[in-house]
Amino acid sequence: MIAVLAGVLALLALGGVGMSRSRRASGIVYGVSLLLSSALGLVGLHALLAAGPETVALPLGLPWVGAHFRLDALAGFFLLIINLGGAAVSLYAIGHGRHEHDKARVLPFYPWFLAALDLVVIADDAFTFLFAWELMSLVSWALVLAHHRAPGTLRAGYVYLVMASLSGLVLLLAFGLLAGANGGYAFALMRTTRPTPGIAGLALMLALIGTGAKAGLVPLHVWLPLAHPAAPSHVSALMSGVMTKVAVYAFVRIAFDLLGPPPAWSAVIVLLLGGASACLGILYALMESDLKRLLAYSTVENVGIVFIGVGLAMAFQASGFALGAALALTAALFHVFNHAIIKTLLFCGAGAVLSATGERDMDRLGGLIHRLPQTSVAMLIACAAIAALPPLNGFVSEWLTFQAILLRPALPQWGLKLMIPADGALLALAAALTAACFVKLFGIAFLGRPRSDAAREAHELDRFSRAAMLGLAAISLLVGIFPGVLVDVLAPVMREMFGARLAAQTPLPWLSLIPVAASRSSYNGLLVFLFIAFSTAATILAIHRVTSRSARRAPAWDCGFPDASAITQYSGASFAQPLRRVFAATLFGARETVTLPPPGDMAPARIEKALPDPIWDRLYAPFERLIGRLADFLNPLQFLTIRRYLVFVFLALVSLLLALALSQ
């Protein structure tokens, strides 16, 4: 515990080093961040495996409340995720950060951001929690604005700030409800008091809004695709890979730890939002051609999958089925881990592409597999992992989520009976669309022929960045092959939350994964991996041994009509066109118009596509307009004479006194 606080303080102090103008500051800041993150990650792992929670109270913060910190299994697990991501990103940034032109806008905030993320998960009272939460929001806002001259960044920063304040405000209200009239702001007090069902439900919904706005649940996701791409790439990796996970932590902490067993209707809402986020997020991503925006939308999808798991856990807990709840939450937290690894890797890869070519638009890339061989191997693994392909890690968590859906205990509520199978269908749909989306990302950006000079002349990155990406890819493969280890590591969290855990997985023969019973379902990542590797190697050997192994290079055949121009290839937009017509036409109101010139006219034919965003247009735009109109209306109040202001003050006083007199 003390070690964590010391680490956080050291990170905060490191921000001071970042302010120096020295040329070596970049290397020092990222290098020391790497060391501190690794150490904190190990502490998190230790806390996860250690016996019980550790607490520390410091005389800081609110008088009579103080600052409480607590390190239990849940906090330890998230500490591990945060710092695993943090360490990888720091290693990446030792190399990548050198290209940053305005270092002083990034270096001081980067370690602070890491410190704030760590602080959130160890906070043990509402004040400390909210302080760390707001620190996290503000510092990341500053990092989003690092490239403030780039077009769109200012708007991204503004939208992010508004959404972050909404999230902070709503969480403040939620904690206010939890603390009750007596002001029990320490989490220890909240655990013991059980609010009435109405208050608990309200607090849970507020917590869902507050954390959902940070995690990117639909319809609160609007800031993600703006803010995540605007930040420098390694910061995007942290924001998308790690910060959204901290929001998941906050929801899990409030829903399962601070509140008692949740009411069943709240599980329906969480399941609904999770399913909607999973499907809409990946559909948005499919329509996107900007690499980093696509990845940000894919984060929305994955957060949706995590919340499906969390919602299932709530549903099972509400019906008193502890083992099912443990399975569902294990699936959700497994996915949290997977997504933290994969999305960090994907954003690092996007950053690598960006610094190698200066392009984020995949329709101007192509053929990078020849120019960036190692980066593309890491990216291929990441794309396959996030598309939930065995034997990589992404598959395991989606498989576990399906197993949780298949449990089908006696559910008390009709809403749940309908919502859980519907979520199964949405999850399946999201998984299939993810595969399409990441075929598009890798196929368009890394395969094919280069579509611009920048892509033709790209150069592989420095060794730090490559080491970070390949390391993350290796973790992804290892976790996919040995999933039982992570399930067992999560067991203390489940025992803490539900008093039940899944059966130990590591002693099983051949490291199988059997969540419920062997006759029910099993998955063996190790054997699947070995089988695939063995059959591939055997086939290649056999074919090369028995038959001809000669090969000749020749121009592409292309049915006899090869075209030398690279723009005749499929682009990202054309790849997504069938899916756009199938899904987006009804969901988003996407339209295509083809204009053909009349015969004899030499004008080019045109195809125009319109892709409106109904969530922004229907939900946010009216609100924005209302605020604008209100501001216009109130604007004259700024320019009044002193007499008029005095009249206002007097009237306000009289009306307040009147109200007081009438109410008594």
Binding site: A425, V439, L447, G448, Y523, I532, A576
Partner: protein, 308 residues
Amino acid sequence: MVLVLLAAPLLTGFVRKVKARLQRRRGASLIQPYRDLRRLLGKEAVIAENASWLFRTAPYLIFALTWVAASMVPTFAGGLMFSWTGDLIVIIALLGAARFLLALAGLDIGTGFGGIGASREMMIASLAEPAMLMIVVTLALIAGSTELATIAGYLETGAAGLRISLALALVAFAIVALAENGRLPVDNPATHLELTMVHEAMVLEYSARHLAMLELAASLKLLLTISMIVAIFFPFGMAGGGDGLIDIAACARGGLVWGGKLAAAGALLGGFETAIAKMRVFRIPGLLGIALMLGLLGTLLLYISQGL
């Protein structure tokens, strides 16, 4: 496993033969697919100039993934050696991984046809895969397991009886199986008209041994899907899972029954393909949407009542 591999081209040859006979042609010999494979294996591979390593390794990986999936499907005997390696969801995901690689390989050369094939294949998969998963959910809810061997064993006992959800699942499975294997009306395996191709467009640039691997993988996938359908919906006549001792006679009988079932399914497929025309690309989502809805309906029925 090896038997499955050997039998796969025969089934393809049989389906082609049935189609030819129905069209009053004599058709190629039943063992023509084997001859094609041998011919392809003996040739020199021609690889496009800008092909990457992915293009060259993908056929082997796709074949391996399909083969591993096939090794988990019970054919004529229950109690497979490796069935506990993964359940139905794993089989679907392995096929999904093969498709992922094939679509990438289609995009690798950077030609228009490779792109059109990959794009359409992913569109079809984005509906066929969830439909398949919903069928799995339906079956798993009935049998209380996602293990294919357990499901087949449970349905063989007849304890499930006749159920609405099973019927829905069968119809949905048949539609998905057509789409997954690129058969009519979704894709035409015999087409050489460029704009109607899906699977053929993705493998357009392949030649020689790489093409042979892909053809073999496609045959294997057809066999696997049909085996899956008969194992789940018509599980009678399977040799029981012997612990240790393998009953030769039972296996032989099971093998014969399995061969008969495959032939019947192949004949049905050939007849169906002769009778129906290829659909427009943008009408396929409607067809697959039906499969998805049927799967979801089956699951919903089971969530509402155990008996349906």
